[in-house]
């Protein structure tokens, strides 16, 4: 899914970035409807409004780079190349979901495309990326480990232990914070003391920058720029300032509880799809065509995965441990 630097700014790339974001948007909307209808169990966390971060970062990665995500991870999975049908099948708990129906929305993994998985304990996947970076360095594979986390992880101690390890051992790790302003209801600005994440990361010795997370172009450019040095062992952090246009999960509405309607409407004007279309002069008809294709693809993914069989009851006891 990597792009060439020379493609930056071309119409073909602009359309492709729009297509990738539209696919995630469709997936999230359809998944949410299935969830509300009771077809998807448990809980899901939609990344509507945050698509530019997943797409922009992933556009700068090689296929062999390895990605970890968090509980709001559908977008990262799709952006890394996970098949939407098998991801949907996972959400439906089917045997041929990416994780055999045993992971679900918050623990989807697909090693075949380098998506090493979403983990639901906030901050928990961060040191795993450091370990993958260590293995990449020791084995000289050339791969980079990337970990996405939300602003909720900014005040987890393991983040700083992990940054430090990545710096002292010069590991190829890219830390990506999607700062959507809220850890469920708690404002990041309230929860985070001092000068913020970028300053903290700089103090730890990382190459750290903030970027407009609603602009897929800006995210792609920055990620492409830092990745070259990350691959050489200069760990980096990107704080993408973004916004989820929906609630955290089903328990909370988009606005009314802890965010005002005005605030949400203001961010809707900065919807990453709209922002990208306007900034790159995409025609309305281009966008409509792409969105229609995305709708078709996701609906087909849903229909196909609905036809997949459930796991057998015996699978509850497989993969616990073994040879």
């Amino acid at each position: 899914m990597a792009i060439a630097v020379s493609d930056l700014g071309t119409r073909a790339l602009n359309l492709e970035l729009y297509r990738r974001m539209a696919l995630i948007r469709q997936f999230e909307e359809v998944a949410y409807r299935c969830y509300e209808a009771g077809e998807i169990k448990g809980t899901i966390h939609a990344s509507i409004g945050q698509e530019a971060v997943a797409v922009g970062i992933s556009a700068a990665l090689h296929e062999t780079d390895l990605v970890f995500s968090h509980h709001r991870g559908h977008g990262h999975a799709l952006a890394k190349g996970v098949d939407p049908t098998r991801l949907f099948a996972e959400l439906l708990g089917r045997a041929n979901g990416v994780s055999g129906g045993k992971g679900g929305s918050m623990h989807a993994t697909d090693t075949s495309v380098g998506f090493l998985g979403s983990l639901a304990v906030v901050g928990s996947s961060i040191p795993l990326a450091v370990g993958v970076g260590l293995a990449a360095k020791v084995r000289a594979t050339g791969a980079v480990a990337v970990v996405f986390f939300g602003d909720g992880a900014i005040n987890q101690g393991v983040l700083y232990e992990s940054m430090n390890l990545a710096v002292i051992w010069r590991l190829p790790v890219l830390f990506v914070c999607e700062n959507n302003g809220y850890a469920i209801s708690v404002r990041s600005s309230y929860a985070t003391g001092g000068a913020g994440l970028v300053q903290r990361a700089l103090a730890f010795g990382l190459d750290a920058r903030q970027v407009d997370g609603q602009s897929v172009t800006r995210v792609t450019e920055l990620a492409t720029e830092v990745m070259a040095r990350v691959r050489d062992g200069q760990a980096a952090l990107i704080e993408a300032v973004t916004y989820r246009l929906v609630g955290h999960s089903r328990g909370d509405p988009a606005h009314g509880l802890y965010r005002s309607k005005e605030e949400v409407l203001k961010w809707k004007e900065r919807d990453p799809l709209t922002v990208h279309a306007a900034a790159t002069d995409l025609e309305e008809s281009d966008c409509a065509t792409i969105e229609e294709e995305a709708r078709r693809e996701i609906n087909s993914a849903l229909q196909t995965s609905r036809g997949y069989p459930p796991p057998s009851i015996g699978d509850a006891m497989s993969d616990v441990w073994g040879p």
Partner: protein, 330 residues
């Protein structure tokens, strides 16, 4: 290729690491003072042989170190993470329980976590409550973790070689009371048989035990043989997976069982052992199955108080006498 020698438990682990690292260059060591081999000498000299790329000192960052070990295990390495005392393991518990134990399962079998966590357990002697814990029961309670509990230098060698061939996370529980214990160790590259072992045959009672308790039970058995009591000692070797069948077979044979663990009585691992013995030997029991656990207190500093809290030679001998002399509840 055998080299029988009298070596310590610590040295046996060191030799197992050295032999395995020679054969498998994906094995790396991560831990505090690992290059120096402090505090018990287990990794002493390995940095000279294998270099600082493979024998890595870490900062005091247990959570990230554990997570880093797990991550590296997902991408072609076989890390051995060292935690000197199980009290410190708690800083890495999120990583261990939520990630190491569950990644294979949650990924539907795509991921493997060939990680070995070396952790010192039990009371070293007046190190106080935070350095003197036995968390075997907690660890055994986590699906996805294997927990091996060597009770002798030979077992330490064998079980470390076994641990370094697994594809899932193994807790290699080192009993800190045993580091200086010497024994004959046959160094080998062979397969290691799973399961518990009867290390002393007896007809009157089975002592179900692991780690430091194995040697203690053998001593007690020797002493009680002079009183005409014939004790069988079953060394579990692993607390997870647990060899329930072996507990049953031995208990059915003797008709009596005493289950020993160092952790506190309430929720302690000896309860799991006692349940296994009771269920497996139903109809063959000549006395109620007994538990000998730690008392429900943190480990005290004062040596006499500390001895009073953990199972001891005296408390085991006394329990054996009571159970063998059992004549009913009246």
């Amino acid at each position: 290729m055998t080299t029988p020698a009298q070596i310590t438990y610590a040295e046996a682990i060191r030799r197992a690491l050295e032999a395995a690292m020679t054969q498998d260059d994906t094995i790396i060591l991560l831990g505090q003072d690992t290059a120096l081999g402090f505090p018990f000498g287990v990794t002493r000299g390995l940095v000279d042989r294998f270099g600082s790329e493979r024998v890595r000192d870490t900062p005091i960052s247990e959570a990230a170190t554990m997570g880093c070990g797990i991550g590296a295990s997902l991408y072609g390495l076989r890390p051995v993470v060292e935690v000197d005392f199980s009290g410190f393991l708690l800083l890495g518990f999120d990583q261990l329980v939520n990630n190491a134990a569950k990644l294979r399962y949650m990924s539907g079998g795509q991921l493997r976590v060939p990680l070995v966590v070396r952790v010192g357990q039990g009371p070293l002697g007046s190190f106080g409550a935070q350095h003197s814990q036995a968390l075997h029961g907690w660890l055994a309670n986590v699906p996805g973790l294997s927990v091996c509990t060597p009770g002798s230098p030979q077992e330490a060698y064998d079980l470390m070689r076994w641990s370094l061939r697994q594809s899932d996370a193994v807790i290699f529980s080192e009993d800190v009371r045993l580091y200086r214990t010497k024994g004959t160790v046959e160094v080998h590259d062979g397969e290691v048989e799973l399961g518990a072992r009867v290390v002393r045959r007896g007809s009157d009672v089975t002592v179900v035990v692991y780690g430091h308790g194995v040697g203690m039970a053998l001593d007690v058995a020797g002493e009680l043989s002079r009183e005409g009591i014939d004790v069988e000692v079953l060394d579990l070797r692993w607390v997870a997976p647990l060899d329930v069948a072996a507990i049953g077979a031995s208990t059915r044979r003797t008709g009596r069982a005493i289950c020993v663990s160092d952790d506190p009585l309430l929720g302690g691992f000896s309860a799991t052992l006692a349940t296994a013995a009771t269920e497996q030997a139903r109809g063959s029991l000549r006395a109620p199955v007994a538990r000998l656990s730690g008392r429900h207190a943190p480990a005290p500093y004062n040596a006499d108080l500390e001895r009073s809290v953990f199972p001891s030679h005296a408390s085991l001998a006394s329990a054996v006498r009571v159970i063998v002399g059992w004549e009913g509840d009246s």
